[in-house]
Amino acid sequence: MCVWGTGEVEFTSLFYKRSKGGDNVRVDPSANVHLHPYLTALGDKVESACPGRTAEVISNAIRGALGLSRVDIADLTPAETAVHMIAEQFVVDVHGVTDSQFAALKQHFDEPQIVAMLFRMALADGLGKLEKVG
């Protein structure tokens, strides 16, 4: 599975809860396996709906902002730069995404493309933070 373009992501930490005594207790051993195909299907659809290299640009921006491993993407186009800026802001403080940043995005992409890219940001942000603290 490649939810966000940079490799396998483990979801096991989704299925542990910290008990009152401080121990990590597994909630359900089958949960990881059970949800895996659903998460894979969603990730694949999101990735394929993102135009051009934007799926990779988003993953790169978010993983960079979280201090996770990332790959370099050379020579961002103005459209990709607009995506990169919003993705970084999305992960640091989503309330800080400005109207001008969003206007720049709309100059280059239509609404279905933007919906797909925002979904990609949500997945990469959530799973990246999970990886960071898990």
Binding site: F15, K17, R18, S19, K20, V27, D28, A31, H34, L35, Y38, L39, A41, L42, K45, V46, A49, H95, G96, V97, D99, F102, K106, E111, P112, I114, V115, A116, F119
Partner: protein, 78 residues
Amino acid sequence: MSTTPRLAPVDPNARSVFGSILAHQPGLAAAFFELYGEFWTVGFSTTRRRKPHGCATRASPTADIDATFASRSWSSAT
């Protein structure tokens, strides 16, 4: 921060909310709600967590798991 919706809904008569925005990507929305539905209906989140105010619930395929966790003090777990 924006105070107005930034994306228009597919249906011009609809309000610009999460669901109407997702209609721009129906296949993607379907995949999202399949995952969301599975997560919330097959017991990976306990009944006690889902319905903390004691709402009546029907028996689920994971009732035994729910029962196990209902006997613990999960409401204060972090």
